[in-house]
């Protein structure tokens, strides 16, 4: 077995080295496929992050919605005392109301659209501050902003930002003092800024009919459990104890963010088809190569090389070329990524990129499977004129 492996490796390496031009071209094709797949994976990760990051990073296990809102955050509008009712349920560690809207920071050379989230300091729904401090509660005109906002706009702690908000039919402008930064909190493709609930109610865009009320109604309540392993039981308990709600977990909440599943499905389909193209291209190349090598393989077998050794040699060769292509493709992807503007949501550090690399490494052997089987089945008689 070891002798077979050594011989197969010897033949595979010799052939690749002696025909390096041809194999390098194939490796380049694999590199381009790698580039495409990694970018699609990174884009998928980036888009997913942009959409779900805030929800995914919630310090909570369950999310409470208004009954029959189909777990869609924007469709849910809970009673103001819902969070308080939930906190009283046995097994709930804490619960925080979350209020969602969007606005635009206009005190910048280029206006920046952001998600405007209302949350209660220190409660689930309010992410931990990584720099500065949390805002005060009440109607404080203070805000904690996502590092992405700070990065893209140059805003620093202590700065005052101005946001535009449509109130009825008029545009109004509100000033907020930046008191802290949070990390990784994109929501609905936009970086976020956090304000206290009362402030949120004042400054959020609202229609004429809504202007008469000062009471903020939360979209959802984030629930942290005493024992996270009891999530299923707690869902049932909450629905029984608190009226007019429906409860689900974080994953369902993410999947019900409008457009999230369709978008991820599209990105995954693109990645799948790119991998499929890769398999077909590699399969085609190696099949043509094996067809050209039929007499040579016949000779190898006729002089005493086993089927296993010939097949193993083909596998090793495919792995070498694929690994080379994926390596070059990975390097190219890194180089290209350095030149991309931050507005393009590319995230290369996700598990998605690692899965993509693993899949790319496997497309060679998968694509070459037919040619490997063909090589193994070639009769040594092909070395003679009988074949």
């Amino acid at each position: 077995m070891m002798k077979n492996f050594t011989l197969a490796t010897y033949l595979a390496i010799k052939e690749v080295v002696r025909n390096r031009g041809r194999f390098f071209l194939v490796a380049l094709v694999i590199a381009l496929i790698t580039l495409l797949v990694l970018f699609i994976a990174a884009l998928g990760e980036g888009l997913a992050n942009g959409n779900r990051q805030y929800v995914a990073n919630l310090d909570a296990q369950l999310v409470v919605f208004l009954e029959k809102s189909d777990y869609i955050i924007s469709s849910s509008r809970l009673e103001t005392n819902t969070a308080r009712s939930i906190r009283r349920v046995e097994g709930v560690d804490d619960a925080g109301a979350v209020y969602t809207s969007s606005t635009e920071i206009v005190s910048l050379p280029e206006p920046l659209k952001v998600s405007l989230l209302g949350a209660e300091p220190g409660r689930p729904g309010m992410p931990p501050v990584v720099a500065g401090r949390e805002f005060r509660s009440g109607e404080a005109r203070e805000t904690v902003i996502d590092q992405q906002v700070a990065f893209r706009s140059g805003i620093q702690i202590g700065d005052v930002i101005e946001i535009r908000s449509t109130q009825g039919v008029d545009d109004e402008f509100f000033e907020l003092k930046v008191v802290g930064l949070v990390s990784g909190q994109s929501y609905f493709f936009q970086p976020t800024i956090f304000v206290p609930p009362s402030t949120w109610e004042k400054i959020r865009p609202q229609s004429d009919s809504e202007l008469s009320s000062d009471t903020p109604f939360p979209n959802i309540v984030a629930v942290r459990l005493t024992d996270p392993s009891q999530a299923d039981m707690m869902m049932t308990r909450l629905v029984e104890r608190v009226p007019n709600i429906e409860v689900t977990d974080i994953e369902t909440t993410i999947n019900n963010i409008p457009g999230y599943s369709a978008q991820q499905g599209t990105v995954q389909a693109q990645g799948f088809f790119t991998l499929l193209i890769g398999i077909l291209v590699i399969g085609g190349f190696f099949q043509i190569q094996i067809l050209q090598k039929v007499p040579q393989i016949g000779v190898l077998k006729a002089i005493g090389s086993s089927n296993g050794m010939v097949g193993l040699s083909a596998v090793i060769q495919i792995i070498i070329v694929t690994a080379l292509g994926v390596g070059i493709g990975g390097g190219l992807t890194y180089l290209f990524s350095l030149g991309f503007p931050p507005t393009i949501p590319l995230v290369f550090n996700g598990a998605r990129s690692l899965i993509a690399v693993a899949l790319l490494l496997s497309i060679g052997p998968v694509g070459g499977m037919v040619s490997i089987i063909y090589a193994v089945r070639i009769e040594p008689l092909k070395a003679l004129r009988l074949g």
Partner: protein, 242 residues
């Protein structure tokens, strides 16, 4: 008396074609001793290549026996036949003889690697054999960088380097000009004799028979004539010239 390296007994190989049975090899028997060089001749379709394929353990006979170095091919499974080809048989083919991405030296050494016999001593022996065949300057050339005659000589070296019991050559001169063809077969014959191997050459070119010890002539799958007398052999080969 030399050992019998190859023995063929009542060998039959038949094929079915469009419902008809064709006897490609029809009740053939002969022996080849170690150190003996035998030519297998006959017109196209006479069964030479089929017979060679059976001798090479590449094709199973319909009936009869083939013994190489005393081992009966009929009693072997595929794995044992691969081992026999590796250890007991040396090959040269008509074309596509060499592994194109290995140099002359590597092609010869491949047989040693295959047999787990590559070491310092066998490397020297390989280089000496190539030098003996006039290829000392071509050790590091790939097949594409060598002429057809040089490639055939490398193939001869590869066929002999592992000291097989039997060396089989399938039309080794088919793609060579006359002068090179004579050189190749003469060198082949000398090495067969010197190394004490049993050699069988299949050829269309009867002139090459002048270098062999015995001629086996086939027609319609049958062994129709065996020429053993040297003068008769030379006459047979000479007749082809004229």
């Amino acid at each position: 008396m030399s050992n019998i390296a190859l023995e063929v007994r009542d060998l039959v190989k038949s094929f079915s074609l469009d419902g008809a049975t064709i006897q490609a090899v029809d009740n053939v028997s002969f022996q080849v001793r170690s150190g003996e060089f035998v030519a297998l001749v006959g017109p196209s379709g006479s069964g030479k290549t089929t017979l060679l394929s059976i001798l090479a353990a590449l094709l199973s006979p319909t009936s009869g026996q083939v013994l190489i170095d005393g081992q009966d091919l009929a009693k072997m499974n595929e794995r044992e036949r691969v081992k026999l080809r590796r250890e007991k048989i040396g090959f040269t083919f008509q074309s596509n003889n060499l592994i194109p991405f290995l140099t002359a030296r590597e092609n010869v050494e491949y047989m040693l690697r295959l047999n787990g016999a590559l070491n310092h001593g066998s490397r020297i022996r390989s280089d000496e054999l190539l030098a003996r065949l006039g290829l000392a300057e071509r050790l590091h050339n790939l097949p594409a960088q060598m002429s057809g005659g040089q490639q055939q000589r490398v193939a001869i070296a590869r066929a002999l380097i592992h000291n097989p019991a039997v060396v089989l050559a399938d039309e080794p001169t088919a793609s060579l000009d006359t002068e090179r063809a004579f050189q190749v077969v003469e060198t082949f014959a000398n090495l067969i004799h010197e190394n004490g191997r049993a050699g069988i050459i299949v050829t269309h070119d009867l002139r090459m028979c002048q270098f062999v010890d015995r001629v086996l002539q086939m027609r319609d799958g049958k062994l129709v004539r065996i020429i053993e007398d040297k003068n008769e052999i030379l006459e047979f080969a000479g007749a082809a010239v004229h």
